[in-house]
């Protein structure tokens, strides 16, 4: 099990895990999102390669209504 923080929430997942797999487990596969891992942007094209490791802090964002 790896323990990570996603959008401010502690979550546990069976590892190993990459960003694409994480998004699938969060039911976000195929959705337009941007992802930051430990303060660094992970380009969408690298989601399948970038591992998610114990203690990582991730931010996953979308566009919402705003002025």
């Amino acid at each position: 099990m790896i323990s990570i923080t996603v959008n401010g929430e502690r979550r546990q997942f069976n590892g190993p895990l990459n960003c694409a797999e994480l998004l699938a487990r969060l039911e976000l596969a195929g959705k337009r999102v941007a992802l930051e891992r430990n303060g660094e942007i992970v380009p969408r094209s690298l989601f399948p390669q970038q591992s998610v490791d114990e203690g990582d802090t991730l931010e996953i964002v979308v566009a919402v209504g705003g002025g």
Binding site: V6, N7, G8, E9, R11, R25, L26, E27, L28, K31, R32, V33, A34, L35, E36, G39, I41, P43, R44, E59, I60, V61, V62, A63, V64, G65, G66, G67
Partner: protein, 270 residues
């Protein structure tokens, strides 16, 4: 210029836009209303906010970008809710990734949650970082002409002073400052925030603003779609009046519009 000929585009960062009205997408009842209002406004540049997604709690949540597709509109991601330069920069880097490298952004760094007044010190810092990082920055700021000029000198592609507080609908509170900013600027000046109704938008354009960005004035109207249509006309009317050049005001100096001669019974002033 003949009316309704698009010889007068708004040019931002080298790109031309026929509409001088920019609209936000917040505070609508649902995405259907957002879409209808945005379409009625005729806006081509549409702001969006960047927020954490739900993480599995609501997998069928509709997406704003389905209602307002990036293929049809120039999306302008904002940094609403950011109180530091660092948070604003981070948010816009995420936005650029989200929107496939799109680099036209709206920077706003707030100073106080009650007034939502901009923190211009943090704004200047964030603008420097973003410009260096290749962003095309349209920047929300106070109506301070010195700060507006500094933001231009940093390399912002448009300066967007407030007319009054965000979401207040108080209208143009300091036309004099806006006029100084407009006279000094070599980049487009857009009023961002404070417009309450169509006449406010027309006044901003008559002052010589290059455009107006608004959200609440449309979204919080009793009939948002109708107000969006009114705003479109107000922006066009204000722009045409500005280009046409208004007549001078003549206090205590009435001049009749009709011929003074040829009256059937010429009256003698008493």
């Amino acid at each position: 210029m003949k009316p309704h000929e698009n010889l007068d585009p708004l040019v931002i960062a080298g790109k031309s836009y026929a509409s001088r009205l920019l609209v936000g997408t917040g505070k609508y009842q649902d995405f259907a209303e957002t879409k209808a209002a945005v379409e009625a406004s005729g806006a081509q540049i549409v702001t969006v906010a960047i927020r954490r997604t739900n993480i599995g709690q609501n997998p069928n949540e509709p997406s704003l970008l389905e209602a307002i597709p990036p293929s049809k509109f120039t999306l302008l991601p904002n940094t609403a809710g950011c109180y530091t330069a660092e948070d604003a920069v981070r948010t816009l880097r995420l936005a650029r990734e989200l929107l496939d490298g799109h680099d036209l952004v709206k920077l706003e760094v707030l100073g106080d949650p009650k007034s939502l007044y901009p923190n211009v010190v943090e704004t200047l810092g964030a603008a420097k970082t973003l410009v260096k990082d290749g962003f095309k920055v349209m920047v929300y700021t106070s109506d301070d002409p010195i700060i507006a000029k500094q933001l231009e000198e940093i390399g912002c592609v448009a300066v967007m002073p407030l007319a009054s507080l965000i979401g207040s609908g108080m209208g143009i509170l300091n036309p004099w400052n806006l006029q100084i900013i407009i006279e000094n600027a070599r980049v487009p000046v857009l009023v961002d925030a404070g417009v309450g109704t169509a006449s406010d938008a027309a006044i901003a354009m008559e002052l010589g603003c290059d455009g107006v960005l608004m959200n609440t004035a449309i979204a919080a109207a009793r009939n948002p779609v109708l107000m969006a249509s009114a705003m479109k006309k107000a922006i066009e009317a204000g722009r045409e009046a500005f280009l046409a050049g208004r007549m001078p005001k003549k206090l205590y100096s009435a001049t009749p519009s009709s011929p003074t001669g040829g009256l059937i019974n010429p009256a003698k002033p008493a």
